[in-house]
Amino acid sequence: MSATTTPSRPGKPILEFERAVVRFAGDSGDGMQVTGSQFTTTSALIGNDVATFPDFPAEIRAPAGTLPGVSGFQIQFGSVDVHTPGDAPDVLVAMNPAALKANLRDLQDGATIVANKNAFNPAGLKKAGYEQNPLEDGSLAKFRVIEVPLSDLTREALKDSPLDPASVDRCKNFFALGIMFWLYDRPLDPTYTWIRAKFKGKQVLIDANELALRQGYYFAETAEIFTAHYAIKPASHLPPGEYRQISGNEAIALGLVTAARKAGIDLFYGSYPITPASDVLHALSRYKAHGVKTFQAEDEIAAVGAAIGASFAGALGVTGTSGPGVALKAEAIGLAVMTELPLVVVNVQRAGPSTGMPTKTEQADLLQAMFGRNGECPVGIVAPATPAECFTLTVEAARLALTHMVPVFILSDGYLANGAEPWRLPDPDAIAPITPRFVTSSDGPFRPYAHDPETLSRPWALPGTPGLEHRLGGLEKWDGTGNISYDPDNHHHMVALRAAKIERMQVPPAEVMGPAEGDLLVLGWGGTFGALRTAVEQVQREDGAAVSLCHLRYLNPFPPDLGEVLGRFKRVLVPELNLGQLWTMVRARYAVPAVKYSKVKGRPFQVAEVVARLREELAQARAEVARG
């Protein structure tokens, strides 16, 4: 971060930065997610662009103070475009030794550490596996360490509160937040508002948390621990409009309701809880006033079955889960393909295989979405690139499913699901209506498999419509009548027709950020967008290299011009959080010698590592040209 000093309020100077990265880390019980969210909301409200990365511990609670129990929340906020939560924090708030230990390797030299000195006692150090106190043994010499007796200070601040000691102690996160608010010159009001809503009716808690927050702020202002504080101006690049913060999971929920409304039908969401997808169910279950029906099924099979049943009955049938759940839904999705019913399948991917690392992110379910069913069983696939885009692409997924009468996957991931960014509220009227091919009558006997020549959609006749009674099923169908058929030629025809349905989907051409042709094309998809874009822009800017980014939102079908786009670059690099799944699809489809770049660590790409890799690839490309 490069600073310019600006005139400051009396007291300490204010240094201005374009962007900053803060990470809050503490025990699962320390309220780090709330603290991080409040910092984010406040930053967004004062006009910064923001991106966040909450990093949960494993689902199950770990003993307090241990490494597996550490919960983290990172935010990057800036006056300029912010596409990722940042590689390395400028400031790490460490509520205990375990939080310090777990996060230390992510810090760069010179970073600031705000440590809760009180927690670095023998018991705490032992639980974190420290033999010596890192605050004292000189091992943190490369950093600016600010020791704050957070627990003591909070206790002192709340000494008049009627709260019991444990509850008092639970306020220390707001004390820490107060410090950070001062440090980055942010207002306290939004957090006051939140506290009052959250603890409504519990005045004691409201008072205590407000006081802790305020005292933290004053402490930072007064105490001699910081020599300056920082300002990050409102972002000027954001288009005007009304904004809110949105996480990927919230955006999916909103997108689903919107799509159903735009199609004039009801939304039915069948789901079985699973990390990190459960919040979509939770969000939708609160939208009953919008006519949303949610069904917590006995398992994932029941969830998708009910969704397909609802589609048969005329609703927008949607099911949401994560990878292991998708595995269970495979057979039923095949039935939706065969019966040509609309279905949206949300997969919030997590690190696998098997149970894997449920709270960590990954992109390794793309080929499962493509091929994870028996027989030739094609489906549409879209993948949002940012939390806010989860809204747009969810609407798109539903549109494709309803237009073509076919299942469509949305591949989100744990990073998008829990990460958040500002979202400009769309004008509901500006969203195009969705028009499924409903039929209400028929000349002559009804032909449920009479395909539309354009979309290849079959007519959607809802139960309750007299004269259109018909029977669907998973056995092969005769094109037109939909009767069961074992005819060899019809089968071949229907297999081809189901494949063609996907190819007929109208998807926009591939968007290339950067030169339209050149040395290196970075081909990405999904939640890696922020890191890839930032890295590509950096290399374009700093190296003046002919490198571009093509980030796919549509994975089946691919954008119609993708083959050509690939052909315009000397080298194609496919960075993915898997062992090369888009890479497999692209090579198979276009027989291009694309190069894979895999990271499978349960974590997003860092901008710096992508930049380094791009430089290697560019060197390689140049070397090849030289050789060739």
Partner: protein
Amino acid sequence: MAESTLPKKLTRKDFVSDQEVRWCPGCGDYAILAAIQKVMPELGVPREKTVFVSGIGCSSRFPYYMNTYGFHTIHGRAPTFATGIKCARPDLTVWLVTGDGDGLSIGGNHLLHLLRRNVDIKVLLFNNRIYGLTKGQYSPTSEQGKKTKSTPMGSIERPLNPLRFAIASEATFVARTYDTDVKHMGQVFEAAARHKGIAFIEILQNCVIFNDGAFDPWINKKAKEETLAFLEHGKPITFGAGGRKGIRLRGFAPEVVTWGEGEAPPADLVVHDAHDASSAPAFLLADLEAPMVMGVLRQVEAPTYDAGLVGQIERARERAGGKADLAALFREGAETWTV
């Protein structure tokens, strides 16, 4: 074409589809199909408001033969599709057809939860105590020791009693009937249709090819007077020649009593109470083998899942007071700011 079929009085034939029926000659499924097609016009539900849903199995071909809406789904999962249909469209009348394999082997869990939730669906479980479609393996209702293709030395599994399963799953309507008694089937189907909530019916069905005569000891014409007891709510449970046998309780244990012609039945005969709040009596009846009971074992009232779902939506809408447009949704529960 586009008119409702209600106004004109429907007949059996209106419910016969144009598909050729494909079961083995002599299969019990034919009689069940006929009984359903006969009962349908009595129910006053238009064809287009009726949906038959099934899984996979011989029995699960059923929807193709009904001239209503129909969905032949995948093995064991019919309850899930049916639930989705009924929840999305509570105005539809949903029937579910399943087999002992489809419903109690692979599909046992879905059936259990369907029953427990009291979704307003009518379940017909065709129990032939065998896998018909896959050509003769034993099923969860096959008797222990049964020799089949997959158990050449006899099955070592203890069979499940479908009615007990249904009762433990908290089903609000539980009944049994059998394929050779069209009239009894008709009565039971009609009672199920008129019940508000889940209805579970076990139908003893003969598979002539792979398990012929499985229920003969009970339902063959000659024996059945002695082996079957037909339940009637509020009446003592009697059977045998002249109905001069009844059931009495000794503690928890049922005991058969007989009385002579012209004699008055004992006063302490068990009187069938289908509406008993406790399901323990039905649980006891379900297991009887001599006699085996036929008819409605249990029928109690409880709120349905589908009504509950709709009710919550209505309440939520009231609370929202009409502010449920998309613009409001986008702001719901979030703080917004303007750039």
